[in-house]
């Protein structure tokens, strides 16, 4: 048993922190706050210049052959600093999937520019009527000569307005079994018939509705075999992150301590109790996350442990951002950016942002089901008639 931090990994952490001091400038933060887009091209290209986009890929794929744990450190530090890396992280989920399931042509066309920070990808899974039940997607793709015609609508296509492609799950066979009738496509956002509308959210983050009206794509847009869409989704799900939620909690603790000193509330027992609980939840979240990371480096996959880490940390984030905002009293209602907002509004911002964390990348309810069945061995829960 060894809980020590790997020296080489900690050196990398220090390098990331140094990078953040230099590149996460007030200008970048202001641009992100104004646009609501958690992606910033200048910042993104600076990450690319360090070779950190796809750094865990093998050298023959243009990566640095780093440990996956290094990518966790990268995301952790970015999250702890509040850096705009949503675009990068979604792009890497898709790129990682293409690296394994894409054609040589797709890998050639996509991976290089992704690595160089020139190309952004966006996820097109959910639809107005397909949220957690992703496999019920109704967006249609119909054969047209050598290509396909796509018609439908996707929800929460975040940063599609900056992205070059949408990784789109479409139904190619309405007669087949629910999960068997799906196929994955990479749809260029420049294609005729593609359009989008912004959707604004509680934290100020902007997402999109994307519309596909008879969009033509060549067959080279198809990822994986026809009817294999669900397998591709499952593959991509394994690359969802998780470790950064503990870092978000760290950010919360840091903001609270800063505020308590500024407000002279270091001795307030009600605050201290809440803070003590939040710190404890942060430590537990950190260790559950580290365990999942460690398991991924062994022959075991760590997928269930990753789900456990995600649910625990994000539920803690919702609870303790709320409780610690409460601890600031009535001033807590002052919006971020207003004068006198506690910790410059950071606490309220974290509280707002926390609300999405238990939803994306698998809702807490879906993931608790995964833990119940695959970790505890409980009988499969009864589902609606649409289940496979």
């Amino acid at each position: 048993m060894d809980f020590s931090l790997d020296e080489r990994a900690e050196a990398f952490r220090a390098e990331v922190r140094e990078f953040l001091r230099a590149h996460l400038t007030d200008e970048v933060r202001a641009r992100v706050a104004a646009s609501g887009t958690y992606h910033d091209w200048e910042f993104h290209r600076a990450i690319a210049a360090k070779g950190w986009i796809g750094a865990a890929w093998p050298v023959e794929d243009g990566g640095q052959g780093r440990d996956r744990a290094d990518m966790d450190i990268l995301y952790e530090e970015m999250a702890a600093a509040g850096a705009p890396v949503e675009g990068m992280s979604v792009t890497l989920i898709i790129a990682e999937t293409l690296r394994r399931a894409g054609t040589p042509e797709q890998r050639e066309r996509i991976l290089g520019p992704v690595r160089e920070g020139r190309l952004l990808l966006s996820l097109g899974y959910t639809e107005p009527d397909a949220g957690s039940d992703l496999a019920s997607a109704r967006t249609r793709a119909v054969r047209d000569g050598d290509g396909w015609r796509i018609t439908g609508q996707k929800n929460f296509t975040t940063h599609a307005h900056e992205a070059d492609y949408v990784f789109l799950l479409a139904r190619t066979d309405p007669q087949a079994r629910k999960h068997a009738g799906l196929t994955m496509f990479l749809v260029p956002t420049s294609a005729e018939g593609f359009s989008l509308a912004p959707v604004h959210t509680l934290s100020g983050e902007r997402t999109n509705l994307t519309f596909y009206e008879d969009v033509y794509v060549p067959d080279t847009a198809r990822v994986g075999a026809v009817g294999q869409g669900w397998e591709i989704v499952s593959l991509a799900l394994a690359f969802e992150r998780g470790g950064e939620f503990a870092a978000q909690l760290r950010r919360l603790v840091h903001a609270t301590v800063t505020w308590a000193h500024a407000a002279g509330r270091e001795g307030d027992p009600r605050l201290l109790r809440r803070l003590g609980r939040a710190v404890t939840a942060t430590e537990v979240s950190r260790l559950l996350g580290s365990r999942a990371t460690w398991l991924r480096t062994t022959e075991r996959a760590g997928a269930v442990e990753g789900a456990m880490a995600k649910v625990y940390a994000t539920e803690a984030l919702v609870r303790w951002t709320g409780e610690l905002l409460d601890a600031t009293g009535e001033r807590g209602l002052l919006n971020p950016g207003t004068r006198d907002a506690p910790a410059g509004g950071e606490l309220q911002h974290l509280y707002r942002e926390a609300q999405i964390s238990t939803l994306y990348g698998g809702t807490s309810e879906v993931l608790r089901g995964v833990v119940a069945e695959r970790h505890l061995g409980l009988p499969r829960s009864r589902r609606g008639s649409g289940g496979s």
């Binding site: 048993m1 809980f3 000193h261 109790r273 803070l275 003590g276 404890t280 442990e305 608790r368 833990v371």
Partner: protein
Amino acid sequence: MDLELTPDQRDVATAFARVLARDSSIDRVRAAEDAGFDPALWKTLTGMGVLDIAAGQEDASGFVELALVAEEAGRRLACVPLVEAAVAARLLAETGTTAGDGIVVLAPRPAEGGVAVLTPAGAVADAVVALDGDELVLAHGPAGAPPGDLGFLAAADRTLRGADVDRRVLASGDRAHALWRDARDRWRLATAAACAGMAAQALDIAVRYATERHQFGVPIGSFQAIAHPLADVAMAGDGARLVAREAAWRHDHGLASWRAAAAVAFAHAAETAVRAGELCLHVHGGYGYTLEYDAQLYLRRAKATRLLAGDPDALWEEIGAVTIGGDR
């Protein structure tokens, strides 16, 4: 990071797990319930050298192994003062004190008015190590009368002064406080491990029942209203084991952060054990409320263990204060 046990650690854990499963079976626990102490089990465990595991003077190590044994003891609701005696043994070794044969336990809270209030195993121990004002004392004396406690821990008050008490001052002033704090923090981390074991076993029992028990024509574990709380306890429970083991590892590696880690470990693991016990009872429905089922035993031991450290809010407050920089 490598969470795999070393072969030596695995040997220790397996050996004690086997003995505890056999000699602290639920029947044995129930037989020892009134006394809160199982002398035969104590003899077996001390015979296996359980008190030597963490008593080493030449290095700091041993608490990782002690935590592994405590996990198993917690899992089996062992009616022995394993952690209290192991931590006391370490303190006696550090101060070069010979206490003779017999059971010596640490009182996990400072004494009040010369009395170590509700000391675990106070009803059976030959001597108690306690912080009495500014003195750290070893007090041999008559075992206290057990008032009866929630966790069948043989908890009893121990008088540290008086004619029938052989009181030895091990240290006084700052040194007494420092030694006592070491002992208390070690008690916290090892007891956290015991709580993690309790939580794991209570969860296992609940999961088994939820799989076998049918209502409305299906196993109740197929209802999300049952399954999801169990999943929550599984996450908190794995977290409890991790924080306890990490605190022990930090201790054994001489990292200054071990104290804060021990406080966090105890706060979280004790809360989780209580939650697991309560959930285990609840999942059993009305049966869980009856004495015939084991859920109540886990609930009682967990709640009592948490209370041994006093009001849990005081600990959350302490952790908050340490975080904010006002170390107490």
